[in-house]
Symmetry: D2
Subunit: 147 residues, 4 copies
């Protein structure tokens, strides 16, 4: 297989617009830092949907994607009145989990970047499991590589 | 039955202290109004616990207490650095639901008052139901009257 | 003046799409009731913008629109995976404040309805004031009537 | 100076009890991961207060402590009905900022650990600055070392 086939392509990146909510600001006059984690989730939902399965369908299949790690580095603050963009891509795929990366920006201004790590879990038992069979190929595609 | 037996007594009122969280403020420099709904819930949880059943146990029994109505009137604002008090009491009890009333204050300063209305529901089906048998007497006591 | 001129027209109603966030759900499997207050605010922001002034500009002019009352009646629950619609219109306009009404729906299914009441306030002093001169005509138009 | 004088002592660690809020759960039946960031802030507020300055007083002095980085590693989930403990300590102190570390646990069960990094900022200009003179000694003491 040629290396080019493994490179990230258009299908593996997702950008969502997020309008800053007044309730998301704090008394510093900027968006409170915890909200970026929720914005990451919006972009992750949109990216997962590109696998062909909305995350709500994944849960109906009996699986959860639990969060094991979150990292955020903050740049310029986001403010009420702005609509920001959140990019998300699947940075790493393992047999039992994955790592998403994120960038939040307002046009050319970088507001934050970060990552979340997740493990697949059987909803009924709460136990970690291997990537569900039906989701392997769709997520491998998201990661920009053939299974 | 004598009227006195129906009057509200000490058991039917609950007050919780809530420390204002920085994340609860908004760019107006005060607590965002949506958070009072969450504070009401903290006081309601504490009041329900006086029935002998923590609300998490009620859910384990297979019931939900869904919210059908919320009302809040706002007075002076709450601010970061303050610990406020939230009073809750069971204002009305019907065969299928209840109405809780609330008062939020900071010492003698009134910050808000309000009410929430709820219906009992079977968790599995999501259908409204009569007050679960096992909870009738405990909630009647909360309401300050014998069943 | 003819009565028809006072009737609400297209300019005075605003509808925003809100994608349900995973973080907005609770362990009942539905959107937690406090989030509707935040959704109302999104629709109110969009409606205010139709006055020609984004609410962030109104604050820059030195005014706040403080919340004095909130009411919500809940119907069918909203769920993760759905995009709901929130309608907002200016129900009442007084010399010092206003009342917005809201309807949240998912297609034809009614999820909630409600209202919020507000007073104009001078940002620097926190004191209530009459509707700022510059905003009278724009908000009168939103209310569907000539000043 | 003897090494013992530099070791962390009782004054530099703070533990707060946090009662899980129903609104903090999500449809997975556990506390949504973004809330831990808010819990960290509660413990940080309590720790800062041990400096002799509540964080709200620091802001009144004209300074902000902006967040530049957040990291969380998640262990067992927290659930409604539980009261968890959040430990916080000042892990690192530099001339312009600091790093707090956190551990969230429920008795002996570890729920999460993490860190936040911050820079001092002049509130009026939003520009980073050196640790405000008046806060140097108090925060050095929090860090368990003499200035």
């Amino acid at each position: 297989m040629k290396k080019a086939e493994w490179q990230h392509d258009e299908k593996t990146r997702c950008t969502v617009d997020v309008e800053v909510r007044y309730a998301e600001t704090d008394q510093m006059g900027i968006v409170h830092h915890a909200n970026y984690i929720v914005w990451f989730e919006l972009a992750r939902t949109a990216l997962c949907e590109k696998s062909g399965f909305h995350y709500s369908e994944i849960e109906r299949l009996g699986y959860f994607l639990i969060v094991t790690r979150v990292e955020v580095r903050y740049g310029q603050p986001a403010r009420y009145g702005e609509t920001v963009q959140v990019d998300c891509w699947l940075e790493r795929l393992t047999s039992r989990g994955l790592r998403f990366a994120y960038r939040v920006h307002h046009g050319d201004t970088s507001l934050a970047s970060g990552a979340t790590e997740h493990l697949w879990c059987v909803a009924e038992t709460g136990k970690p499991c291997r990537t569900p069979e039906v989701l392997r190929e769709p997520f491998a595609r998201l990661a920009g590589r053939p299974e």
